[in-house]
Symmetry: C2
Subunit: 412 residues, 2 copies
Amino acid sequence: MAVLSKLTVNGDRLNASINRLAKIGRMPNGEICRLAFTPEILQARYLVQQWMVEAGMTVRTDAAGNLIGRYEGQIEEAPALATGSHIDTVPSGGKYDGVLGVLAGIEVVRSLRESKMRLKHPLEVIVFTDEENTMIGCQAMAGTAKQLPHEYKPKAAGSIEDCLEIIGGNWDELETARRTRADMAAFVELHVEQGAVLESAGKEIGVVQGVVGMLRKAISIQGQANHAGTTPMDMRQDALVAAAQIVLAVQEIALSMPSQPVATVGYLTVAPNAVNIVPGQVELTVDMRDLSQACLSEMLEQLQREIKTIATATDTQIELKPLLCVEPTLSALPVQSSIAQVAQELGLGHVAMPSRAGHDSLEIGRITDMGMIFVPSQNGLSHSGEEYTSPEQCTQGANVLLHTLLQLDEIY
Amino acid sequence: MAVLSKLTVNGDRLNASINRLAKIGRMPNGEICRLAFTPEILQARYLVQQWMVEAGMTVRTDAAGNLIGRYEGQIEEAPALATGSHIDTVPSGGKYDGVLGVLAGIEVVRSLRESKMRLKHPLEVIVFTDEENTMIGCQAMAGTAKQLPHEYKPKAAGSIEDCLEIIGGNWDELETARRTRADMAAFVELHVEQGAVLESAGKEIGVVQGVVGMLRKAISIQGQANHAGTTPMDMRQDALVAAAQIVLAVQEIALSMPSQPVATVGYLTVAPNAVNIVPGQVELTVDMRDLSQACLSEMLEQLQREIKTIATATDTQIELKPLLCVEPTLSALPVQSSIAQVAQELGLGHVAMPSRAGHDSLEIGRITDMGMIFVPSQNGLSHSGEEYTSPEQCTQGANVLLHTLLQLDEIY
């Protein structure tokens, strides 16, 4: 591998942009609320678009409302190299989630332009639509969008058709937003980790192996509500005892798999939920995530077996209903190794890790070579006003993004 | 033991009384709502009082609002034998809970009077005030009433002082309602089982060994809410995993005790309670019941030990707060054996069993010899419009009550 050029991004400028964008949608308590399709997101999109234009990009909006800045390359007909992320937030979000990837992409273009450099490939910086909720932007681009408008429930008022129109998209032409490997050679996303793995390991850079798949199930347990005094232990059909066994089974199944998946019962409600009544009904959810679809399937099979045993042992009826099934996407090996090599050359500690949160890359990785760069999240916090990644760490991430794109420009 | 006299109650008359009283407070869906201190209970008390007078009793109301009908005995200065129960219901109650004990008591007096019989002892039929909520009636009579009015929260509007006044009681003179063994030699209560033990065993009569004590605790588990994707299994402080271990520990502790206590986690709430967030906080309650205070204490100690282990294993903080502590009351052996002998002589199958629901007898047993007679509850249902005990079973219970009182009249 060639020694890296001395080129670096302007960290001060990057962090100033992050702080400027954070003013839009900031609430009195310091949290940021910039939901897709709202006046706040329109204001933020306008600002980012301005920055793209100032950095020498041409800007367009596709039918899914994705904002795409393009910095032309030396070879006009070459497929694009792309980067980007999102600028919408959860209702009580922070400054970095998504934003860092978009603004680091723009900063990379600014730096290239200042050095009067162009890649061979066109370089695109993409702001994906509504990553925090519907993910319609990356889905439309990957050709995985849902067929019917009512399958999307935007958090802003109105139908998805109305919402797309607000930001310059068009539901009826959604298909035109679709991209392929032929026009996008590779995609790299810089993002905050949203977990504490990097901080715990004392590493600056996470080389993401892929975005995990998700399997979510709703579980209904039907027992028999009864008097907590007059119902002997051996005559009970206690739905909460069954639920407790499921909660522990879910944990044990995850711990028993070699790939270190995660599995969570995050939601659980009891009925009638009174101190002196044996619980008659429990509803709960299971969320399982792993890089390997085979592992997810194996976990589900084990859970189904356990549930049968538990239903018999507790004299309850247990039903399992699908909530969500998202297949994992693996990062492309050339992108992973470029990121790792760049981090190495820049003297940054790095570690390979899965992304266990969903990202736009999850969908884009289905159509082209994908990779992700993680930087640390203080205390692992995210989706919170306390979300924090230091200016230095943001700059480190942007420099890894810059040099990774330079490497990929040689490879692809 | 002497052969029983041929005397029997008039079952048709008893069941007609039950059906007549059930019209008061009956809602369109067939459930009965006759809360203490409401117009419905006043109407019911008036009817019962009339029946008492018609049966030859003198009637008085004590300071706790207990309605006491007295059928004088042959020996004027003898302490009373007493029976009774309550006629207030839960908000969605049935026809039998409490009512059977009161109306069977009155039917016993009617039958004695028709046969021109008097016991040696005066015979009292007591309607206790607000058994389903405050239990102020039996507590005042046992001298266990709370000191301050605001410690009682009547379901009817107003303070306990106002409530007592409505039914002819007087908070300021509550102490005068107190009774002792010197004026009440024994107390027997006939009640529906409110469980399915008799039905399962195919027995007509339960000989109650005592009313169980209750130990209720609130448990707070503080973990750390976190992203269900990005938080590895070994970095979690999952409050729901801790709660699940507690739910199962509670069950195992109850099953391990030789006296067959019951223990229930009936209430459990999770926060933030979202499919994709590791639970940060769980609140739950534990309700433990047994005839032996030593067993309750041992169960609590075991639970406290388990909770320490669970807190360490799950990296959570677990706090245990007292909710309720009621000491058990054992039935007096002479009363128990009288009931069993009477059932035997009447050719009724009987079984000894604890009462795991609270009753007026719980308090009255603290001041005098107490016993309870149970009759079956169909499907174990109670506190429900579907509560059902057949007319034949009600009559059987009343006949056991009649002959038990005749026996006790010889013993005391």
